[in-house]
Every structure is written in structure tokens, then in C-alpha cells.
Amino acid sequence: MISATPSRLPELVSRNAKPLLASWLAQQRASPAARFDLISNTELDDQSKRFLAGVEAALNAGSYDDPSSDAWTDARELLREISRSRAIQGFSPNETASFVFSLKQPLFDLVRRELGAQPQQVADETWRISLIVDQLGLFTMEAFQQSREEIIARQQQELLELSTPVVRLWDRILALPLVGTLDSARTQVVMESLLERIVETGSEVAIIDITGVPTVDTLVAQHLLKTVAATRLMGADCIISGIRPQIAQTIVHLGVDLGAVITKATLADAFAVALKMTGASLTSRST
């Protein structure tokens, strides 16, 4: 139980800001989690200094047991920024969290040194430090996780854009080679870009090649059928090619009806059909 006596932390930290920073930095450098291959010495110095100043300001504002209060806004923002930059630099969660947690020992040392004569006070302040540092540590992890998720989301988006090229094969013939698993979001992008290209190029036939699609379940089949239906509504025909034997078996076992769709085993076969549909033909030159 914390006694009602006012905390001496603000005063202690303010008075010992310099040695505290020095011992904290020493602590961070000595820790096995230090990654000087990822972050420069000066950057670490700067981050530590700014964060400690933020902590000092928050303590002096009278909040020494609740880092989620308004007084801590600046310190939290700083921490969020640091976590984000570390997530991007490739720090592990452990290494990122140790930035905050390594502040515990220097603070404990400081309290023990200054208040050694009053055990009750030492216990109180130690408890407060624990509360603050633990909460800040948790906050760091949350910010770190959030940044990681943002990175993943961005990569997903990039992957989505990369993976849906619509290729013009011939006059009025488009091909759409699909690679990877089809989900709703991706099908939407695929469908939109295919339809846009049909309008742009005035194409009559679109070949959807699913050689690179690892599995076809009912959902994927339904997405494919939707794309085919939308293409037909635009006034173009759709051929699905690259159906591997296993996938053909799966489709039949699942009871998916691809009856109304032209399907071909390979892209070459589909291309031949498409040429016929647009009234073109290819002949080999006799020598």
C-alpha cells in the first residue's frame, strides 16, 4: 500500500537528470538487446535524452502513478515514435521493450541512494517506478505491434497491386494470369482492373488463367463465376484456362457448376479459341 506522502520522484529525477541519463545509457549499451548495427550511438543518445526529459516533465506535472493520463501525452507520443522507427529498423519486440525497461534499474539505484535512510519511502517510490515503467513498457509494445501491423497491411496492399496484371495478348484479346490465393478483396481488384481494361482496349475475349492459383474452393469458384458474369455483362466473353487435373476434380467434387463458362486446360488452348472467336487465325509459315 502506498502511503499518502507526496512522491519525491519529480524532485529526485529533476535534480539527477544528468547522472540518470548517463547510467541509463550505460545500462542500454551493456544490455544484450543493444543493437548498434541497427541504430547509431547518437540516435540512441538523442532518443534517450528526449524521452527522459518527457518523463521528467510528466512527473513534475504531478502525475507519478498513471502514465495513461494527460500529463504523459508528450512522453507517450515520443515513445510511439521511437517504437515505430524501431519496428521499421527491424528491432525485435524484446529489443524494443528493453529501451523502456532498462530505465528501471537506474531509477531504483537513484531512489536507494537518495532515500536509503527511509525504507518506507524507498518501497513507495520503487513501487511507483515499477508502475510507471511497466505501463510505459506495455505501451511501447502496443505501439510496436501497431507499427508492425501497419507495415504488414501496406505490404499486403502492394502485393495486391503487383499481382493482378491484365495483359493484352492480341487485338481484342486480354489475358489475366492469376497467381496466388484468391480472396474477396483480391477478386474485387482483379475484376475491376479486368473490366477497366476491357473498356480501354475494346476487347471481346478475356482469358483468366488460374495456373498459379494453388487451391480452388467454393468461394474462389464463386469469385471466378462473378468475374465471368460481370465480363459477360460488359459484352465480352470469358475463358478460364490453366485448370489443373486436381483442381478439375475438386471443382466437380464440390459440385460447382462451371457449365456456362468456357474452360480450357492450358492458356495456349484458350488463346486458340479466343482467336477463333475474334475471327483471327494463325498459320505457320511453310518454308
Binding site: 474485387q188 473490366l195 476491357i198 473498356v199 475494346g202 458474369a229 455483362l233 460488359m234
Partner: protein, 122 residues
């Protein structure tokens, strides 16, 4: 009251929808078009919806209905110039307009209509 004009081109009727379709307008079009098919004894109907950028299930059903009615009156219907967004919306609404002929633009639509009518007449 607004009406969508119906133009006669030879044996075909040409309808271009260039305003936002509201339900009353669609019903009126259905009425006018069926009347014109029978008075002009048209063999083909071409509906161009390239300016239409919003559809709902009602309009989708109207298009399917008009096409079915025209077929009963022995005329082929081609819907042309559907925009990608409209096509996606209709598919998401579960309306794939089975049995309605479609073409990318009016020119292709006319060619398709001639071809279908010729095949039908044989």
C-alpha cells in the same frame, strides 16, 4: 413528364439512356418500347447504357424484363456499353441477366444484332 426517346433505325429500335434512371422512367420506357416494337414490327432492340453509372436491383430487373418482353414480341435485345462499376454492382446483386445479349459498344451491338436477327430469320 420525362420520356426516354426511342429511335427507329431500319428494322431496329435504338434506345440510349442518358439520364439517371428512376423507377417511373423505367416503367414508362418498358411501356413505350413494347408499344413501339409491335407498331413498328421491329426485329431488334438496342439499349445503350453507357451513360448510366448508377443501377439498383429494380433497374437491373427492368432491363431483364424488357429483354424478355421483346423476345415474346419476336425481337432480339442487345444491351451495350455497360460500365465496369455497373456490371460489378449487378453481379453483386446476383443479377447476371441470363439470356440478355450484351456488347461493348453500339457499333458491336449493331453487328451482333444483325447477326442474331439473320440467324433467327433463317
Amino acid at each position: 413528364m420525362d420520356r426516354i426517346p426511342i429511335l427507329k433505325m431500319g428494322d431496329f429500335l435504338l434506345v440510349t439512356i442518358q439520364v439517371d434512371m428512376h423507377d417511373q422512367l423505367a416503367l414508362q420506357l418498358q411501356e413505350d418500347l413494347t408499344a413501339r416494337i409491335s407498331t413498328d414490327s421491329a426485329t431488334g432492340v438496342l439499349i445503350d447504357i453507357s451513360s448510366l453509372d448508377v443501377v439498383d436491383s429494380f433497374i437491373g430487373r427492368m432491363i431483364a424484363n424488357i429483354s424478355a418482353m421483346a423476345r415474346v414480341l419476336d425481337a432480339q435485345t442487345v444491351v451495350t456499353g455497360m460500365r465496369p462499376a455497373v456490371a460489378i454492382t449487378l453481379v453483386e446483386l446476383g443479377m447476371t441477366l441470363e439470356g440478355v445479349l450484351t456488347a461493348l459498344n453500339v457499333e458491336r451491338g449493331m453487328a451482333l444484332l444483325r447477326q442474331k436477327v439473320a440467324a433467327h430469320g433463317e
